[in-house]
Structures are given as C-alpha cells and as structure tokens.
Symmetry: C2
Subunit: 641 residues, 2 copies
C-alpha cells in the first residue's frame, strides 16, 4: 500500500458490509454481515494443560500481580479485576443504583450523583426520581503523572446521560460526577498523560443543537459535536471546542501538546444511510497549547458557563486528517510518538506520527502527511494495544481475531519496502471490541498480558437463556505466538479496561473518620452539638427527625427509636469498628432503605416515615456470630386521624 495525497485508501464499505449499510429499512438485516465471523473458523483452542498450568493460574491464597479496572458498559458500574486470575474483586457503583451499598439512596451518594448536573437536568430529576438510575459506562482510565499511572483517580464516561465520573483510588469509591454541558452523549474519554492529569478529554459523540432547548429540532445542519477538556482535579469543564463531523474515541500524546479524536460521521448525517455514505472520514487533532492560549486571552464564547472555541475546519485549534471508512479506536503507542487510528469499516489502521504535527498545524505539510503507516490487518479493526517491544495488537471485529503487527515494519511497508508487518493472528470468541495490554496505555507497557473484550460468547459457556454473557479473554503475549489462556464470561458489558501494576495502587483498608464524603453529616452533627461515632441521639426539629447512632459488631447503639407518621427522618450511622473488612450495613425493613457503612465510615439516608407500625432495622453485612441479632426497632406512631 502506498501513500496517497490527502485521501485515505481503503476497500469499498459496501463490499465489506454486503449491503447492510443500506438496511435502514431493516427487513432482512438479521443476516447482517456483522455476524458472519461467527460460523466456523474459530477452531484454535489452547491445549487444556497449557490453559490450566500457564502463568495465568493463581492458586488459592496467592495474590494477583495487576489490578484490572473494568468498565461495565450499560451496567453503569466500574469493576476491579485481579489479573492474571481474571477474578472480579469488587464492584464500584457509579452510574447505576446499588442495592447493597445504597448508592443512589444515601445522602452522600445523592450529592455526588446530582451536584454536578446541569440546571435543566436537576429540574428534570426533581420531578422524576431524584437521580438517574442508569448509565452507559465505556472507558475507565487512571490519572497519569509523567506518562504513567499514578494511582490517584479513575475516570469514566457515561454515554447515556452525558456524564464523566471520578473514583478515588484510596477508597475505591466515586466522589465526583459531572454532566458535560453543551455536549450530547459522552463517548471517547482519555486523561492527559503528560505532565499529569490534568485534563480529561471527553467526546460528545452525537451532534445536537447548542443549546438543545427545542428551538432547533429537525435542522441537522445546525447540529454540532463538541470536544471537552475537564479539569481532573476540580471536575469542572475547563474549555470546549466545537468540531465538524462527530467525535468517537480519543487519546492524548505523551508530550502534553495534542489530543486526538476519531470521527465516523464526517457526513454530518442523522440516518444510517447518511452516516455511512462517504468512503472517507477523519481523525481530528486538537492543539492543546493554542486552545489554552486562546482561553487565557479571553478569545472564546461562553456557553453554559464554559469557554467554547470554534474548532471547525479552518480553525487554528484543529486539523482534520483524512482516514478511510469510519475510524473508531484511537490509541497512542508507548513509544510516545505514534497514534493508531483504527479503521472499523476499512481493513486498515492509520498511524499518525506526532512529531509531524507541528508542521501540519503550521500548514507546512498536509494533514495526511502525518500518516506514516497504514497496514491492512483484516476486517473490522477496532482498537489497538501495545507491548514493550514495538508490537501492536489490533482487534478485528468482523474476523473475530486479534492481529499482532510490528510498528516498525508497518512504517517500512508504508515507505514502500517489501515487508509484511503482520506477525500473527489469534482467534477470539467472538467479535472483539476494546482490548488492552498490561500497562499498555502508559510509557511502562510491559508486554505480559493482553485482554480481548469480546461482545458475543454464543456457544462458549453453558446456556443461560436468551441473554448471553460477553466474553473477556486473557491472552499471554510473552511468546512469539499469542495464546488464549482464559475465557471469562461477564455481565453486560466489559466495554473497556486498563491493567495496572499492583504496586501503583495502594488503597486504605479502613476509612479516615474525617473523610470529606460525609462532611455534610459531620457539620450537621456539630450543629446538633454532637460528634459522629459518639452520638446516640434522636434530635427532633419540627417534623424533621435526625437519628444518630453508631455500630459495633454485633450491635447498633440504639435498640429502638420512635417517630411519628409523616416525619422526615434522617438516619446518620457511624461504624466505629476499626477492623479490616468489618463493614456493617443498615437495612430498614419494608421502607426500602439499605446501605453500607465501612469500618470507621459514616453514612446517612433521609426518608419519610409514612408507614405506621413496628419496623425492624438490621445489619445486612454479615459481621459476627450474632449478626442476626444485630437489629432494633423503629416504632412509627400513627398520625392522629
């Protein structure tokens, strides 16, 4: 394949998709080409002994070497995995409701879930349920310092309700969620790698009117996509850039100069037929320093309180690099120089050399001149991961394979040398999306493990009904050939993940009693003349009642309290146990109240005592031989008739 002047090469999209791009009318689309990778062809199986005895085995009592931080897709939570055992170690509720922890019910979680939303969404939720009950989490990423993970925070996007969340790695709980104004449906999201995070770059995937207040409706030419830089320390939007086309995935460089996003809808269409009508789309490059200078100079429009710049074609803030056929994944290589743009409907990936970008922005060379390799890998290249030897691992969605290829050889081939950059392929089961290597999105990529997150499992596990699990497969990449060593079924869906050396992550085992998460409860206690962890009091304030108690296995400090029907009751519970793993819970029966109280933590819930009678509360987190006796009564006096 030879370089072309500002036109991306690639096969015809129609040829690839067997006409399914035309299937907007649906009939017959069930035999869509996207599924043809399933039948046959996936015969490779690792010998049983190899699979069981390989380095992936973690015997009982041994510890994993890596943390995996996993998106759960539409389940809305973040999962912590152990690698290489592929065991799920923890769920962190983020965009979902959680029955066990009370996420979405405790006052502390409601604050996190609501305080960062736009005024319009706050008004909507005040009428409808108080919090969003769902989210569509895609891309979990850790904060960086100097090009590698620093163990401070995790960030993750919600496509469903246009949010970005932050998780504190010291306690593995979500502490901030913001809705990104002016954007619709945040998709691609990556942290700044250098000098530190810094920014979280976030893509508004879908084009909408700005503002989206109903004044503009079916006028798609007035819709726009917007790129956001969020300050990861304050969780405020620092600035936004309006672009042409739309925004899919993104990444950042290792120099702190540029960010990159893919666009699959350069057509700016609103139907499937329109969005897929062109054989060519692009990757857009953002000049971070130029944008910062403009914001600093006041050279922006403020919309919804955010500095917004125009980055449409012709702007000094952006350059649009033509890429074939709806590029999707966007992955900066640990060599600090190359960015792989994955073709999706083109069988190719396109490699940007960041050292050429100053000349692109200076208009000394054309945008396409930043492309230094474009290997043809197979059908449906979606995402690329990296090892520490200059090799790249690209998922092929339609082929149900991972292709291993050499960056150097791909660059040589692009220059016209007669070398094959492809070093091997391995079948995965089935239809892989994101993949990830151990430390592979940092400068400390170590080339040990590759995880392929496959969208279908089909016949790979005993049948669990019409809804099948996804399948995350662990692949040993230390040898010349990739070897699938573990099939991991998972509930919807292991959308994306990162794999982090265990030594980088150092959480606490018990809470700091002064943690800011329950600052409001602490302040209220002070106003009430009480100290959390010591107070066992019922404070009545008109029809508002605050009940302070503490817990220590196997008791709550109150064995009963009385309120009146209709009272607004706030329960504030502090777990004074300070033993590792000694979490208590508080469930108030037949009131729908239940929440977690970690060792040394405080949590609170407010509800209306509308149901008269005797209501037992109990600890639902098994804590002691007398756990079942750890309970008490709320007596609700009926309102006088």
């Amino acid at each position: 394949m030879t370089k072309q002047d500002d036109k991306a090469p690639g096969l015809s999209r129609r040829a690839l998709l067997g006409g399914s791009a035309k299937m907007a009318t649906v009939a017959g689309a069930t035999a869509a080409a996207g599924m043809t990778g399933w039948a046959g062809g996936n015969a490779l199986r690792v010998p049983a002994a190899q699979a069981a005895t390989g380095s992936a085995s973690v015997p009982p009592g041994d510890l994993d070497e890596y943390y995996g931080f996993w998106s759960s897709g539409q389940t809305g939570e973040v999962r912590i995995m152990g690698i290489p055992s592929m065991r799920e170690l923890m769920r962190i509720p983020v965009f979902n409701r959680c029955s066990a922890t009370g996420w979405g019910q405790t006052n502390e979680s409601i604050k996190v879930l609501t305080e960062g939303l736009t005024p319009e969404t706050k008004a909507y939720l005040a009428k409808h349920g108080g919090v969003w009950h769902n989210g569509d989490a895609h891309h979990p990423h850790m904060s960086f310092t100097d090009g590698t993970y620093d163990g401070r925070y995790l960030f993750i996007n919600d496509k469903a309700n246009t949010r970005v969340a932050r998780i504190r790695c010291d306690v593995m709980k979500c502490d901030k969620i913001i809705e990104v104004p002016n954007a619709a449906d945040i998709h691609g999201m990556r942290p700044q790698k250098f000098p530190r995070t810094g920014y979280i770059f976030a893509n508004g995937e879908h084009r909408i009117p700005i503002p989206n207040d109903g004044m503009i409706l079916d006028e798609p030419d007035k819709y726009r996509s917007i790129f956001s830089a969020i300050d990861g320390d304050t969780m405020q939007v620092a600035w936004q850039v309006i672009v042409n086309g739309n925004l899919d995935n993104c990444d950042a460089d290792y120099q702190g100069l540029y960010a990159f996003s893919t666009c699959y809808n350069s057509e700016e269409g609103v139907t499937l037929a329109e969005m897929t009508s062109s054989e060519q789309d692009w990757a857009v490059v953002f000049d971070v320093k130029a944008i910062e200078a403009a914001v600093q100079a006041g050279d922006f429009t403020e919309i919804s309180g955010v500095p917004v710049l125009d980055g449409q074609k012709g702007s000094r803030f952006t350059r649009y690099i033509p890429i074939s056929n709806s590029p999707h994944g966007c992955n900066t290589a640990p060599d600090g120089r190359h960015v792989v743009i994955n073709g999706k409907l083109s069988p190719t990936v396109s490699v940007i050399d960041v050292t050429k970008l100053p000349d692109v922005f200076a208009d000394k060379i054309k945008p396409r001149d930043a492309i230094v390799a474009e290997p043809q890998l197979g059908l449906g290249p979606l995402h690329t991961a990296f090892d520490n030897k200059g090799n790249c691992y690209t998922t092929l969605f339609l082929d149900s394979q991972v292709a291993k290829w050499s960056m150097d050889k791909a660059i040589q081939a692009f220059k016209g040398e007669d070398v094959d950059p492809i070093l091997g392929k391995v079948d995965v089961q089935y239809q892989p999306g994101h993949n990830h290597t151990s430390m592979g999105e940092t400068k400390e990529a170590d080339g040990k493990w590759l995880v392929s997150l496959n969208k279908f499992s089909k016949d790979r596990f005993i049948n669990v009904g019409p809804l099948k699990p996804e399948n995350e497969q662990l692949i040993d990449i230390t040898g010349d050939q990739m070897q699938v060593v573990h099939d991991g079924p998972t509930f919807a869906e292991p959308h994306d993940c990162i794999i982090v050396k265990a030594s980088i992550v150092n959480p606490r085992s018990t809470w700091d009693p002064e943690d800011p998460i329950w600052e409001d409860a602490r302040n209220q206690a002070k106003q009430d003349g009480l100290e959390l962890g010591d107070a066992s009091e019922l404070i009545r304030d008109g029809n508002k009642v605050r009940v302070y108690m503490y817990s220590a296995a196997p008791s709550f400090s109150m064995e009963q309290f009385s309120v009146k029907q209709g009272d607004e009751v706030t329960l504030i519970i502090t777990n004074i146990d300070d033993v590792d793993d000694l979490t208590h819970g508080f469930t108030l029966a037949n009131y729908g109240v239940a929440f977690e109280i970690g060792p040394q933590a405080t949590a609170s819930v407010t509800f209306t005592a509308d149901r008269p009678g005797v209501h037992w509360f109990y600890c639902q987190w098994f804590c002691h031989a007398l756990h079942m006796e750890m309970r008490g009564r709320m007596l609700v006096e009926p309102r006088a008739a």
Copy 2:
C-alpha cells in the same frame, strides 16, 4: 455425649462468646469474639500445582458440568455460575435496579415488581419511587419433582422488603414477586421436595404485631412470627401458621409430610441481651397434612386474605424440639430421613429423624426423642451440606473451618458407642456461612464439589479499599480429605447457593415472540390495530403517545419521531433478530431510559417527555459493525409558552 431428656446440651453461650452477648451497649465490642477466628490458624494451603491442575480447571472453550445458582445477598440479584470453573455466567435482576436490562424501569418489570405487593406497600410506593430499589436476597432454591431438581423455576426470598420471587428457568428472568402479608422480613425459604413444588415455605424472621398498622407499638409480647406456605405455581400464599419464638432457616422433608424451622429467639426478646438470654431455643416442626386438613375444613382465621392457623405451643400443627443455643441452619439430608439443625452458638449440630415425628405429633414420645445424633463439631456450626456417601459437611463460622463428619458414626456416638464422627476439617478463608455440595439438597447428591461461602476475605486478594469482597471457595470432596481448589472473590454477598447438574437446566436461546411477559404490550398493540414486530408507528391518543418500533442490526425501524413536551410517551420495541446472542438495547439519552431487548423479545417503557430538544436514542448492546450508527432522534417540541 449422651441423650438428655428434653433439654438440649451445649456449652455456655457466655463462655463461647467471651461476653459479647452483653455488649448491647457496644463499647469495646470491636474485639468481639466473632472475629477471633481470624488470627493465625488458617495456614493450610493447597499446593499450587494441585490447585491449578485439579479437576476444577475448565480450559477455554470447555463447558462447565454444573450450574450454580447464587444469591447475591444485599445486592438483590441472582447470579448464575459455572461449576467447577466458578465463573459468573449471568446476573438475573430480581430485587435490585439494573441499569443494563432496565429492570425496575420497563413496564414489564414494574408489573412484576409491584403487582404482588400488599395494598399498604402499593400505596407507599405510589408516593415514593414506584418500586423498591433494594432487596436482601438470601436463599435461592430450585423447584423439585420427586425429591430432585426439575429445572422449572428458581425461588428466592427478600428479607429487606418481605418478598419471595420466582425466576423462570426457560428464560432465566424473574416473572413473579410477591410480598408476604402478615409477615416481617422473610428469611429462611425452601421449596417442598415431594411430591413436587408445590409449596415454597417461607419464614417471617422478625416478630411484629399482626396487623402491623401502628395500633400496637412497644408491646413486644403482642408480636408474632409467622410461617408461610406459598403456592409455587400461582405465587399466592396458601396458608400461614403463627408460632412462638421466631423463625430463622427452614427445610422440608422428602416425604411431603413435614417442614422444619429453626428459632434463635425463643425468648421472644427485642434486644440482643434478651434474645440471647436463654441457653436453649428450638426447632419447630410443621405437620403439613394436618395444616392442609384444617385449611380444607375452614378451621382458620383469615387475615389479609390468607388462611392463618395458630401453631403456638399446644397446637396440633406444630411441635417444638429443644435445641441448644440459637440454632441457625436447617438441612435435610439426601438419605431422606435426617434433618440437621446447626447450633450456631452451641458447638453441636442436632439431627432429627423424620421417622420419629409421627410419634412426636401423637405425643407418644417427647420432642427431644426425635433427636438421634448431636455431634460436637467446633465453634459456630451454621450450615450442613451432604455427599452421596453418608457424609456431612458443616461450616464452622468461628473456627473458619468446614468439618466433615459421618452421619452413621454420629448416630452411633449418640447411642453411646465410642466412635468419633469427625472425619476431617479444612480451613476456609474466612468465617463461612452457607455451604453447598453438588446436587446436595436433593436425593441425587453426588459428592463431587463443596462450595464454602465465606463472609470475609481480608488479606486473601489484592486490596481494593475498605470494602472487601466476600470469598467463595471451591472444595474438592471426592477424596478422603477436602481440598480447597479455588478462591472466588465476590461482591456482596454470596449468601447461599445451589449446584445443579447442567443436564437439568435447558433454557431457550431466543425468546418465544408470544411470551406472556409482554402480554400487556401485545394486547395494547392489538387495540391499536398493530402487530408487534411489524409495527413502526406513532399512535397519538390525547397527550399519550405510543411509539412502536422494531430493531434488526444495525437499525431501529424508526430513525426519528416527534412528540410534544409534556406528552406521556410509551416506547414499545420488538427485536426481530432471531440470531442467538443478538440482544439489542434501547437507550434514550439524557432521559434516563435504557433497557434490554433479547432476540425476538418485546420491551416497553413509559416516561414523560419533559425535556424539549433533540434526544438521540441508540442501541447500547453491541450488535454489529455498525452498532454505533444504530441510532435515531426523538424530537421534543417545546410546549407553547
């Protein structure tokens, strides 16, 4: 140990608990005796090679031999596991909210979650959130025919909101949930084993006034616990029996004659000190045939529409068998004859011989004469599982061990023979609650696998913060010595489980388009002159709008539709794809709407279109190479000012 006349033996509770029973005032209780099993003593580790290469290994592409059906405790869902791989294959939302599937949001799930509730709870939820968002799921059990699993249904209790749910095993979805009237906080729950299920026996653990309407408050002597028999086919309460004391766990015999429940609060106390004041509690036995005859004869009081019998002491419906120190677990052995009552605060388990029960009910022998063995096993015996060789496996919560013992030898020892019934012990990590053997709660117990569900994991996995996972351990019981072959961390909490031969469970892979779950939607479509799966229509009916569409990868049949601000919109979507594993989803952005639509299924959601503007809907269940282009617009016209 020798038989005693109607008084259960056992060590002093105080001696066992180091005084913690007195710790109602909490101070100092963090060093509670319940935790002392942690330090040291758990040194046994299975050699690495053994762990990795044993029969527990399931290489990529191989299938598990058993389904595990797992409670999730306070998470409120049911989990399907593969055994012996110990991989989680699926989550079934039941008492929780689910962001991915829309459980708690779709009209179909809201119907399941609300139609079986009491009028009082319906009234409460109409004011507060529409559905319960939480549950505390404990005991998952499959329906039986002739003493073994029949693959029709799973049942599970919710202690938090007094419910029992049913899951259809053909599709692995919950189809019925009822609130049990007159009861508080359903705990123990087991299906009738013979001749079939039949009844689901369910224990109201906590004593409350009946009715609990606030007329009786702090008068504990007027509180009662109630035992319920639910018809598993109709999911209606067939009858209830009021008892003395309280009700903890339960089980049923293999003859269809008796049910059994443990009681840890024979004191009928409401504080920890009161509930633990007596050294002796009991197991209560229910005479099912006598109860049925009384109900048939109209010899009952109807309360909340349910026939209620008085089973307090002196009743012909019950017998109370004295058992030491707060018995907890209740497990019928596959020999069809013996029922093990687990002592919790006594180091013993007590074995009831069901063949002696007719004489107990006929008052020919004393209740304690039904006890035929009472081996002393160790500290904190909670639950017992069985193999097919007459051996029993009892979890020891305080010792953090599983004790293997012989039923025959325990009976011999109880007769005074000089034999030790204990065959071995294995350390588990840490503090085990329920345990379960493969097919062990049926007459087809096969003695292959034992799972120990441990409440604490502490140092067993890399640290994930103050909230640690539980630890479910897989133990090979085919040899003379038990061998821990796998540590499985899990999110709160693997409360209980069953292990079922894979051949018994045969789910569908795609839905029957005529499934009753979306009967209401089908009927509405008929009224609208439409057919689900074929309709792509917007029907306006005043300010109510029904939008029918169908999906087939990669398109929805509508690429846009328009409504007016304030309309009540019902979306009814049918997935016409009929390929295995081709689930679609429907997310309506920034409206908090998201749900699953399985192959050939229909699902619907109703919401108020309060937010004007352009709102994209999209498929959130990865389905096709053009998945991201599978989207359309809802245009909401602003209400005239």
